[in-house]
């Protein structure tokens, strides 16, 4: 068991490094990022200065080495040794230190990537948790109801509504909720993120409701369908037939035998979906202007702020990988056959 866990974690680390390499090559092959921050009246000389001070003139292998080193032990900015040392002598407080795991420094936003992510993460985590709860509770509930009433009108209504909701683009739902429900018809307060520290739990929840609903609707539709399928399948298993044959009530059969078998894989799936959301709900955050990692990505992309984009991709990848490993290990714990595969 422990050997399995260690193996999974090691593979995870290798995958993460491979991802860092791919991301780095993809983004830095794009050319000189200095041009994008050089601004108006960018004279060739000014461009050369920036390129040098921030180390974009160095070979990409060197830049990658420095980046990985920064991940491992942290690093200092600006990158150019000579410039930094001159700065160290004249104004030591101006050298920016970025602690390990250092994901980089954004020239454009004058902030280390770590700080940027730490600043925007709470909003994303709040939306993700709220949406997760909505979609799991209602997704599973409606899914089970549909399975139990399979073929009846209730099942048909649930499945029909689910299909339509699933087909509606998130940006459409979000814009509708924002512009009509909140702003025009004033059926709900204008969604604004208020941290728990600033406004208490109630205001935090109110502020999150519309974005979380926007995000949850799609997942809910998906989970209704998955739950329904899983439950139907587990109800057709032999042991369920045995249980029925034993004379157990339909309720005991459903909840004790059917649901348990169906929900285990469902929850691990949900875990992975949740982890993927930690990269930021890009469209939802953009529609509602919520200052989370998704909006940070949109704006960084608009501003060609590559260091932040790279950092976000790595953090998000790490979250998915970690969730994968945790779920794998939990699975192995529950189901011994997995360890051997």
């Amino acid at each position: 068991m422990i050997a399995f866990a260690i193996r999974r974690i090691l593979v995870g680390i290798v995958l993460l490094l491979a991802m860092v390499l791919v991301v780095f090559v993809l983004f830095f092959a794009a050319g000189n990022p200095a041009r994008d921050v050089c601004g108006k009246y960018c004279t060739p000389q000014k461009l050369a200065n920036i390129t040098q001070v921030y180390g974009y003139d160095k070979p990409i292998t060197y830049q990658f080495g420095q980046f990985v080193k920064g991940l491992a032990v942290g690093r200092d900015y600006p990158v150019d040794d000579k410039y930094r040392e001159a700065l160290q002598k004249s104004n030591p407080s101006l050298v920016i230190h970025c602690d390990a795991p250092c994901l980089g420094y954004s020239l454009r936003s004058a902030i280390t990537v770590n700080d940027a992510i730490a600043k925007y993460a709470p909003v994303t985590i709040s939306i993700a948790v709220y949406a997760f709860i909505i979609w799991i509770v209602f997704g599973v509930l409606f899914g089970v109801i549909a399975a139990v009433f399979k073929g009846k009108w209730l099942d048909r209504v649930i499945v029909g509504v689910t299909l339509v909701v699933y087909a509606l683009p998130t940006f459409f739902v979000g814009t509708f909720l924002l512009q009509f429900i909140a702003i025009r018809w004033k059926l709900f307060p204008y969604p604004r993120y208020v941290s728990i520290a600033d406004g208490g739990v109630f205001n935090w929840l109110i502020g999150l409701t519309l974005p979380a609903m926007t995000l949850a609707l799609f997942y809910m539709a998906a989970y209704v369908r998955i739950t329904r399928a899983f439950v139907l399948e587990s109800l057709s298993e032999d042991y369920i037939r045995t249980a029925r044959a034993k004379g157990l009530t339909e309720r005991v059969v459903l909840f004790k035998h059917g649901l348990r078998a169906a929900l285990t894989p469902l929850l691990s799936m949900a875990g992975l979906d949740f982890a993927a959301l930690l990269a930021g709900a890009v469209i939802t955050e953009a529609v509602f202007s919520y200052q989370g990692l998704g909006l940070l990505a949109v704006i960084s992309n608009r501003n060609s702020d590559l260091p932040i984009l790279i950092g976000l991709v790595i953090v998000a990848g790490a979250a998915v990988l970690a969730a994968n490993i945790i779920v794998d290990i939990l699975y192995a714990f529950v189901d011994p056959r997995v360890r051997l595969s």
Binding site: K40, C42, R302
Partner: protein, 586 residues
């Protein structure tokens, strides 16, 4: 909206910084604020689109709306322009006791600081702070962070500072700012911008006749407190010397910031003509959609009643601006012009360039962009808001295009035109479609090259480096300070030798020795009227030679909440709503 979208099109945002204007201008003559009903207190909110603020450090402040707002809230300059509906306001002293004195018609300028000026930490503002503030604009790392503007970069070297005791020393290239500059270059710099008591004197290579006006508009000559220095880490910090100070330690470029009263500020050193400072709190709130902002202001509920937006109402919301909203909507002129740059390297024949100009359906472009609320077809790159503004002969061409003239000029040729535009909105595409239809009628073969708003590198670099050369591309400009000098030379003066991309705004690499000669003469002239005459001649020569395709002079079209008073887009704020006089109605 277009200017915003264009700015977002590339990190290399090239539309102008500040347009301050003295000239007569057109529609919606802004009514002066009724000072009698002005009330103190309350919270005023400005709703702007996310990511528009490039920095709050004076060397990082870069875009028109930032400059307009920060001048009124936190950063006082040597001089300032007053809050007034007047179209030709005079620059007034702000930190300085007067608007500057010169003994040699603009080669040296002196300013003396008022007494009792304080930073938000209570320390006095000194001449050394002015010197230090200017020196920061020479540091590549600081300027890079915000894309800000140092004096060095203006006017093709004409406005470089020089050390009067050693005029041959190349300060502009040798000096790298106070953080890493060598002691020798620092000494030269301190002589070029020298302090004596509380008086600072700037020494320029050439005469800079309207420097006091530029000082009101640009932040390069603003003071900076040395003890506050944290290098690039200060990009989003504010050390105020104005009536408000930033709440919290940093300004959030994606969310905005809240400004509260600065207790160290003394209104007696200031003038109510420049800052009335009526609300207790001013919030700059960012929302990632102009449409959502407009919807909120139309709905006018809760705190949004005391909110306004410096954004133009997007054209897809025009139809929701019903007559009952007319008391909360304001139209004004704008310093922005829209035009196309022509690649003079690929289209060398002036007849072809003029045919392109003649075949352009400017009226269609205006209509597709939103009609008369959006702008007016014109014949120049100069906004009617600029003093000395004069139309060129291109304005006489039928705004809907003169296909016959174009066909005659082309004489049966069917040149290929690759037209690039920033792919930022449906409107930009619609404009491209209109242009294409006009040109094709005249016989051009048109290929549209949309460039994504997140293209890397940015729009103007893409335009210059596309594997197949771009022949014409969409552009926009507003003057950096209220002068023809800030419009005409950047666009039509030849690029310096060896430049791989346009310096200033000559991305089409237009080059004409006659135009260059006239600009040089204007540079050397000291009489403002004569300068304007020479520059207009240069512009006329460039225009009739087909240096650019004029499209339109934009208008502003604002909406604000029912409790906002003193709403006035004016010259001082580049025709953004002037925060200096706005207040919250009780």
């Amino acid at each position: 909206m277009m200017e915003k979208l264009l700015l977002r099109a590339g990190a290399v945002a090239l539309t102008g910084v500040v347009a301050v204007s003295l000239a007569a201008c057109s529609s919606g003559g802004a009514a002066p604020a009724k000072t009698s009903s002005a009330q103190k207190g309350g919270t005023l909110t400005s709703l702007d689109v996310t990511g528009e603020y490039s920095g709050t450090d004076p060397v990082g402040v870069y875009l028109g709306v930032e400059i307009a707002n920060f001048r009124r809230l936190v950063y006082r300059g040597l001089t300032a322009l007053p809050i007034t509906a007047e179209k030709n306001p005079k620059v007034v002293p702000d930190l300085a006791t007067d608007t500057g004195t010169t003994k040699d018609q603009g080669k040296t300028w002196s300013f003396t600081l008022k007494k009792g000026l304080k930073w938000q930490d209570g320390k006095e503002i000194t001449c050394a702070d002015l010197q230090y503030g200017l020196s920061r604009s020479y540091d590549a790392s600081l300027v890079a962070a915000g894309g800000g503007v140092g004096l060095t970069y203006f006017g093709d070297g004409s406005y470089n500072l020089i050390d009067p005791s050693d005029p041959s020393y190349k300060l502009a290239t040798e000096y790298t700012g106070p953080l890493t500059g060598k002691a020798e270059s620092q000494a030269h710099f301190e002589k070029a911008a020298s302090c004596s008591g509380s008086t600072i004197t700037y020494h320029f290579q050439n005469a800079w006749a309207d420097f006091p006006t530029a000082a009101a508009a640009l932040f390069s000559t603003d003071p900076y407190e040395k003890s506050f220095e944290k290098g690039t880490a200060n990009l989003f910090t504010v050390n105020s010397n104005g009536p408000y100070k930033l709440k919290g330690s940093t300004f959030d470029q994606n969310a905005g910031g809240t400004f509260e009263r600065n207790s160290a500020y003394s209104a007696s050193t200031d003038s109510p003509d420049v800052r009335k400072a009526l609300p207790d709190i001013v919030k700059l709130e960012f929302v990632d959609s102009p449409e959502t902002i407009t919807e909120r202001l139309i709905a006018d509920s809760g705190t949004d009643q005391a909110a306004y937006s410096p954004l133009n109402i997007p054209s897809d919301k025009y139809s929701q601006i019903t007559p009952d909203l007319s008391s909360r909507v304001k139209t004004s002129t704008s310093p922005y012009t829209r035009f196309l740059e022509i690649n003079s390297k690929t289209i060398t024949d002036p007849d072809v360039r003029n045919a392109l100009i003649a075949a352009t359906d400017k009226a269609g472009v205006v209509k597709a962009s939103g009609g008369s609320k959006w702008g007016t077809a014109n014949g120049t790159t100069v906004s009617s808001a600029i003093p000395g503004f004069q139309e060129t002969a291109l304005n006489k061409i039928n705004p809907s295009g003169d296909i016959n003239k174009a066909k005659k000029l082309l004489a049966g040729k069917t040149p290929e035109i690759r037209y690039a535009f920033p792919d930022t909105s449906t409107v930009a595409e619609q404009v491209a479609a209109v242009l294409q239809q006009g040109w094709e009628k005249a016989g051009f073969k048109v290929t549209l090259v949309p460039i994504a708003k997140d293209a890397k590198p940015g729009y103007y670099v893409q335009v210059g480096t596309d594997p197949k050369p771009i022949d014409a591309f969409f552009a926009g400009w507003a003057a950096d300070w209220p002068s023809l000098f800030a419009v005409i030379p950047p666009i039509v003066q030849s690029n310096p030798k060896g430049a791989t991309f346009g310096v200033g705004f000559n991305y089409g690499f237009y080059s004409n020795s006659k135009v260059d000669g006239l600009i040089k003469q204007a540079n050397n002239a000291t009489d403002p009227t004569k300068q304007q005459k020479l520059l207009n001649e240069a512009n006329e020569a460039a225009a009739t030679d087909g240096a650019f395709v004029p499209l339109a002079n934009q208008n502003n079209y604002y909406i604000y909440g029912s409790k906002v008073g003193g709403f006035l887009p004016d010259v001082a704020s580049s025709y953004y709503p002037d925060l200096g006089g706005m207040y919250v109605k009780k």
